[in-house]
């Protein structure tokens, strides 16, 4: 059954949109069914397991389906007892709440932006919640998350309070970065969110470094450390040099990191297919010596299954994994993007695969929770988001004295002034009004 924690990476038994004939697959090498997005039914994909040496293309087969359909059949036969399910009620509600929080928060961001409460570039995560929730809810507080500019929901999933994120977006001093970062630079030392980066690909080496620290702590400092780092980035980033350089280093040193590709098919207005010679990103993992996995990123339970395995691998010291999540953003690239290039039919298709709706359906169908309980969660989240806006509204804007405060960790770095005193000792200095 899918939820057994073996070293295999397997699909879970939620229905796949396309139907294929079932076939039993080999233990260690499962063939994935291509999603309808790829268009070509003859593309067989391979799921590589830890134990098997990476052998690329030897086993391409035309119509083979993942274990999911097999299991789905099994599931239909037996009644869905609780032991067949992937999640417990508690887990289901946690996942649901997290995704609803992500969605509600982002919707509120859009509202606040158009009301002139936040400015600049704001990139919303609507539609991709399954990836954030599926992965981050498995982490401990000490594990690290590194993201891109589309980072509000990663921060929220990791545990940064909505109040702090909203304040940061409003540019208030109570924001998680004191208002100095903004939408694209969410950091939290307490929750180990290492950013928030505006340039794509820039965060991947940072994530690799965090994973390096984890390995260093274990092997050099002899501490009991099994912290894992997750690096989230998009399809556009996968053509960037830093991505490949880090895949190499992570696999070389077996760093405890999972590279999570949120392939939403579009890099602003550049379609992934127009930018990439081989659009199957998961394949690039084995080229560097790590497993490459493709998963349906609109389905939180599937993502979670893959995540359990990938994070587990990293924790056990077996090295990195590249996970490609096929997902979609319902809104434009940013709030400034008119989003005219994407085909309405494509948008409509993915709208039917809304991850929140899917999870809700799963929960209700499997009687994990009642409609009322889910509604209660939605109501609670609405209150949380409203409260965060109120809090942000009431928070003060940064004072001028904050201007130069955090440029240097050690403010002696501003140097010695003509009078022989360090500049930072001048109280007017951090306001930027002192004579420099």
């Amino acid at each position: 059954m899918a939820c057994s924690a073996t070293t295999r990476i397997i699909h879970n038994p939620l229905a796949i949109s396309s139907s294929r004939s079932a076939e039993k697959s080999d233990f260690s090498c499962k063939i994935l069914s291509p999603s309808s997005f790829w268009g070509s039914a003859s593309l067989g994909k391979k799921l590589l397991s830890v134990n098997k040496a990476i052998s690329p293309i030897s086993r391409r087969s035309a119509t083979v389906v993942a274990v999911s359909d097999v299991v789905k059949e099994k599931k239909l036969k037996s009644s869905s007892s609780v032991s067949n399910l992937l999640i417990t009620k508690e887990e289901g509600l946690v996942l649901y709440e997290d995704m609803v929080l992500g969605r509600a928060f982002e919707d509120m961001c859009a509202q606040m932006y158009y009301r002139g409460k936040m400015f600049g570039f704001v990139h919303l995560y609507n539609g991709q919640e399954a990836v954030s929730t599926g992965f981050i809810k498995l982490l401990k507080k000490e594990d690290c998350v590194v993201s891109t500019y589309r980072d509000h929901v990663h921060a929220l999933s990791k545990g940064v309070p909505a109040r702090q994120v909203m304040s940061e977006l409003f540019g208030k001093t109570t924001g998680c970065c004191r208002g100095q970062g903004g939408s694209m630079h969410m950091f939290s030392k307490e929750h180990n969110v290492l950013g928030g980066f505006a340039f794509i690909g820039e965060g991947i080496p940072v994530a690799t470094g965090a994973a390096f620290t984890s390995k260093y702590k274990r092997e050099v400092l002899k501490e009991d450390c099994d912290e894992v780092t997750l690096a989230f980035f998009g399809d556009g980033t996968c053509n960037n040099g830093q991505f490949f350089e880090c895949l190499n280093m992570a696999a070389l040193w077996k760093l405890p990191i999972v590279f999570v590709v949120e392939n939403n098919l579009w890099a602003i207005g550049m379609s992934h297919l127009r930018a990439t010679s081989d659009p199957e990103i998961w394949k690039k993992g084995p080229a560097f010596g790590m497993p490459g996995v493709h998963v349906d990123g609109m389905d939180v339970l599937k993502v979670r299954e893959v995540a359990i395995e990938a994070v587990g691998r990293a924790r056990r010291g077996e090295g990195p994994t590249l996970v490609e999540c096929e997902t979609y953003r319902f809104r434009g690239h940013s709030l400034a993007d008119p989003d005219e290039l994407r085909d309405p039919a494509e948008k409509a298709h993915y709208a039917t695969r809304d991850p929140i709706t899917a999870l809700k359906k799963y929960i209700l169908e499997n009687k994990l929770a009642s409609e009322a309980e889910l509604k209660a969660i939605e109501k609670k989240i609405d209150e949380v988001v409203e409260d965060s806006v109120e809090f942000a509204d009431k928070s003060p804007v940064p004072a001028r004295s904050q201007l130069l405060e955090n440029v240097f960790a050690d403010p002696r770095g501003f140097g010695i002034g003509p009078d022989g005193k360090y500049r930072c000792e001048d109280p007017k200095f951090t306001e930027g009004t002192a004579q420099v």
């Binding site: 004191r178 280093m249 955090n406 240097f408 140097g415």
Partner: protein, 398 residues
């Protein structure tokens, strides 16, 4: 004691730089005894406001030496790259979170031998041989620094760090600020730079000017074994990201340095030779060209004050200012390019702060704005040579 005298553990006579075929191995550094122009005790903090730990934060030698050489001198003699290594090793011993990463730093021992032997002592993870991916391993150092380590990134040649500019500028420099002060990036980025001996344009770059505007980083340039070790240690201990500029041609300078531990101040300049007539500000290799010119100038009756600014960002305006107030004339000698270089910034800073004290416009001698040519003669003319310095001082002091 005579707080006036500060000795670097001086070795004997130096060799001139004019002969380009001279090999640099076994060079001795002659530095004149340094006297602080104000009579303030060197070992005390400035105005009592600087926090000092147990380690001496200012450049003080073990004992004051009389200019006549003693029978057995204190301290030990070593070459500049060994001094760097000594500093590095001491810091790695002191704090297990200090680690080194770069190309060929481990098994190869570093392309200029700064990390020789360290991988054998500390292991492959603490002295990490990276693949050739500057941007990524510099970013990796940033990530490691954010999560608790204190990495030192070695650029095999400073010029290679141009590939890491994204990470140095955006992440090293900015992350402390954009995270609202939550994360510190205590990295040291170091490597050999400057114009060498016909290494060609790309290996002869002077990156000080490119990095100087990045908010959030500090830059220092070492020039003697003594300050190399002290600045290395200070840079490692600093919570700020520091770029430590070394020079390809200075690695084999020999000097006697103290046995006991010392850490220098990152933000301070070094008084090399006090004088009355003119202030000559310089750093890194040009210090030696200046000192050579100084000999000529002294013979001609001038009394130049030579200051090695050491801290390229921020400038030590106190030491520099005091000198300007005394001499009223400034010559800046640097290896950086003319346009937008350290000299340009320094000229602006001095003009803004000490304009009233200047009797003449500042003369700034920089390298030519040219990709360093390979041909020996052309390379020689790219960089400032001692005769030019002498001529500039003579012109200024008319």
């Amino acid at each position: 004691m005579a707080a006036m005298l500060q000795s670097f553990g001086v070795a004997t006579a130096s060799v001139g730089f004019s002969d380009h075929s001279t090999k640099l191995s076994g060079f001795s550094v002659h530095s004149l005894p340094v006297i602080r122009s104000e009579g303030r005790s060197i070992s005390g903090p400035i105005n009592g406001t600087r926090k000092t730990g147990k380690v001496i934060t200012k450049a003080v030698a073990a004992q004051a030496e009389s200019p006549a050489s003693a029978a057995s001198k204190p301290g030990h003699e070593l070459l500049l790259f060994e001094a760097l290594r000594e500093g590095l090793e001491e810091e790695m011993d002191r704090d297990p979170r200090v680690c080194v990463m770069g190309e060929d730093v481990g098994h190869y021992g570093g392309s200029y031998k700064v990390t020789r032997g360290l991988a054998q002592k500390y292991g492959d993870l603490r002295v990490l041989d990276t693949p050739i991916a500057e941007n990524s391993f510099t970013g990796m150092a940033v990530g490691a620094a954010m999560t608790g380590l204190r990495p030192i990134v070695e650029g095999m040649n400073m010029g290679f760090l141009l590939l890491a500019f994204n990470q140095i500028s955006d992440n090293c420099g900015m992350l402390h600020y954009t995270s609202g002060g939550q994360f510190t990036i205590p990295t040291v980025i170091r490597g050999p730079g400057g114009v060498g001996r016909q290494l060609g344009a790309e290996h002869s770059q002077r990156l000080e000017s490119y990095f100087q505007s990045i908010p959030g980083i500090q830059m220092v340039a070492c020039s003697t074994p003594y300050n190399a070790k002290g600045l290395m240690k200070a840079a490692i201990r600093s919570e700020n990201p520091v770029v430590l500029f070394e020079h390809v041609l200075l690695y084999n300078l020999k000097e006697r340095i103290p046995d006991e531990e010392y850490v220098l101040n990152l933000e301070e300049a070094e008084m090399v030779r006090p004088g009355e007539h003119v202030t000559i500000l310089t750093y890194s290799r040009m210090r030696y060209h200046v000192m050579q010119a100084a000999k000529t100038l002294v013979n001609k009756g001038y009394d130049p004050e030579v200051i090695d600014i050491r801290s390229l960002k921020p400038f030590d305006l106190h030491t520099i200012g005091n000198s300007v107030k005394k001499t009223h004339r400034v010559v800046i000698v640097e290896e950086c390019m003319r346009t937008g270089g350290i000299g340009a910034s320094l000229t602006a800073a001095i003009n803004e702060n000490f304009h009233d004290y200047l009797d003449a416009p500042i003369i700034c001698l920089s390298s030519q704005d040219v990709p360093t040519p390979y041909a020996g003669t052309l390379e020689e003319w790219t960089v400032v040579q001692p005769p030019q310095i002498v001529a500039a001082v003579e012109q200024l002091c008319q």
